[in-house]
């Protein structure tokens, strides 16, 4: 039974001639890592904003555990492309921010925040200032902050898009480890094909004008990594390359149609 459900979602910004998303239906269940892949303009950010509750759909229904999603809430944690951390607080306070908002006592939320920092390999970074961190470290703090609030689902908005290639690979592996350990359902959007194929248990490919789903794939590369196989071995596996090229071909054929 799906936890998060999107039923025939459309979205249109006021004043815009065409909708950004048309007739999107998808489901996210426990232990799933759903990746939405698409070129810019395909509405993937809009899709995430809809699920997060930042914007409202013009048609259709989004439900979490049967309850209709309305506005942002701590049930749906978000990791942003630009970390969106609070520079006036140190790392520990940033990670515990959601718990502070919920009124959890300081000692208690610090314990939880330290656990989350350890989970993202940042143990001992408690009192660092945000501007002293590297891009990858900031994204890890962002991930720890979202997880500390114990959301039902984790939404990730191109979380590794601004990172360099080396850091991005590390972060992908870290995400898979965290995902396996916390068993949180994850919805991630990206325009990086290799990243999408590597991470996803389920992949949806979006095409623009208006944003719609052109392909759905069920994949297991991330699970193979979680089971102990090395990332390089998986990414150089002929089946991985074949899948990546298949998706790439789909993206280009869609683009020709839309141009």
């Amino acid at each position: 039974m799906a936890l998060l459900q999107l039923e025939r979602i459309s979205a249109q910004y006021p004043g815009a001639p065409t909708p950004v998303l048309a007739d999107i239906s998808l489901e996210l269940g426990p232990r799933q890592l759903l990746v939405a892949l698409g070129p810019s303009g395909s509405g993937k950010t809009s899709l995430l904003n809809l699920i997060a509750g930042f914007v409202e759909p013009s048609a259709g229904r989004i439900t979490l555990d049967g309850a209709v999603v309305k506005g942002p809430s701590a049930e749906r944690g978000v990791v942003f492309q630009d970390d969106a951390l609070l520079p006036w607080q140190d790392v520990l306070a940033n990670v515990g921010f959601g718990l502070e908002l919920a009124g959890v006592a300081k000692a208690q939320r610090e314990v939880r925040a330290r656990e989350m920092l350890a989970l993202v390999d940042l143990a001992g970074f408690d009192n660092r200032r945000i501007w002293q961190l590297s891009g990858g470290q900031k994204q890890r703090v962002g991930l720890a902050r979202a997880l500390a609030a114990d959301p039902r689902v984790l939404l990730m908005d191109e979380p590794f898009g601004a990172l360099d290639a080396f850091t991005r690979e590390q972060m992908q592996e870290l995400l898979l480890q965290v995902w396996r350990r916390t068993a949180k359902p994850v919805f991630l959007i990206t325009h990086d094909i290799e990243e999408a194929v590597f991470l996803a248990t389920d992949l949806i490919l979006l095409a623009p004008n208006p944003g719609h789903i052109v392909e759905r794939l069920h994949l297991d590369f991330g699970q193979r990594y979680a089971a102990g196989e090395s990332a390089r071995a998986i990414k150089s596996d002929p089946r991985f390359i074949e899948t990546r090229e298949h998706v790439l071909g789909k993206v280009f054929s869609q683009r020709q149609v839309s141009v």
Binding site: A52, G53, F54, G71, P72, S73, A74, R76, G77, V78, F80, D82, A84, L85, L86, P87, W88, F97, G98, E100, L101, A102, R129, I130, W131, R145, A146, A149, L155
Partner: protein, 278 residues
């Protein structure tokens, strides 16, 4: 692989670190030197008798007068009492201005209706030089302390309110969304995200406001007061006691300088993230 071993990366940081250091040192030295040259020129023109002490007393006379003023006083009060009178007025004006202008600025920045109501009012009176409406304030409130505090309050209020509103309007939307997706209520957003985000702008507004407020206060004391640094300078000028006038001007300048430096230090302490790439 060999390209990694090129010395390019290690040699690069060196000029970065050296240049600003040398420049900041030499700039400071130039400033100190300028001050000394000005003082020396002052001493030279007065000691040589080129300018009569009535127009410009020598530095030594001003210093002596300063000692006299600090111990026995001028016009029934010591320098400290005049200084205290001026400082108390600006303190009250600043205190009330911060307490009211910050909430008003947040309202303008965050609420469409509040902006519609308050923006024209502030934008209407802000460009008027405070001394232009001082006569009206005197008619309404008399010539007591209230009218002077009110004048400074009005002079400081507008810059702080406008700077706060700007700070609120330029809050990073990603930070707001992040807080909302962590369950922040409207009040929590203001307390935990909007206010700290706007703090650098608020402090800049206070700096500008204090500058305007201080010059307004001194000017107001020149016109309508029986104590304060402005009054001391004005009454000394009427009796051509030039050394008191010069001393008063120097103290006024020193206080303005100290306030500016104090606020810069506060800015470094309270908003260390400002100007950092984060």
């Amino acid at each position: 692989m060999s390209s990694y071993e090129l010395p390019v990366t290690t040699s690069q940081p060196a000029p970065h670190r050296v240049i600003p250091l040398r420049r900041s040192l030499s700039t400071r030295w130039i400033s100190v030197l300028t001050l000394f040259v000005l003082l020396a020129a002052w001493w030279a023109v007065t000691a040589s008798g080129m300018i009569e002490p009535l127009f410009l007393p020598p530095p030594s006379a001003v210093l002596q007068k300063g000692w006299l003023l600090a111990t026995s006083g001028y016009m029934d009060s010591t320098l400290w009492q005049h200084l205290a009178a001026s400082l108390r007025r600006i303190e009250l004006g600043l205190g009330f201005a911060v307490l009211t202008a910050v909430p008003v600025g947040i309202a303008i920045g965050a609420n469409r209706i509040a902006r519609g109501i308050l923006d024209p009012v502030i934008e209407f009176y802000r460009p008027i030089p405070p001394l232009a409406y001082l006569p009206l304030i005197v008619i309404w409130c008399g010539i007591g302390e209230l009218s002077k505090v009110l004048l400074i309050y009005l002079a400081i209020f507008a810059p702080i309110a406008i700077a706060t509103a700007t700070g609120v309007r330029t809050v990073d939307p990603a930070k707001l969304r992040a807080a909302q997706s962590l369950g922040a209520s409207r009040a929590q957003l203001i307390r935990h995200v909007i206010l700290p985000s706007a703090l650098p702008d608020i402090l800049t507004g206070v700096r500008i406001g204090l500058g305007v407020g201080w010059s307004t206060l001194v000017a107001a004391e020149l016109i309508a007061a029986t104590s304060g640094l402005g009054f001391m300078v004005q009454s000394a000028a009427q009796f051509l006691v030039t050394d008191v006038v010069v001393l008063g001007i120097l103290v006024i300048a020193l206080i303005a300088f100290a306030m500016e430096m104090g606020l810069r230090a506060l800015q470094r302490k309270w908003v260390p993230w400002h100007g950092q790439a984060h």
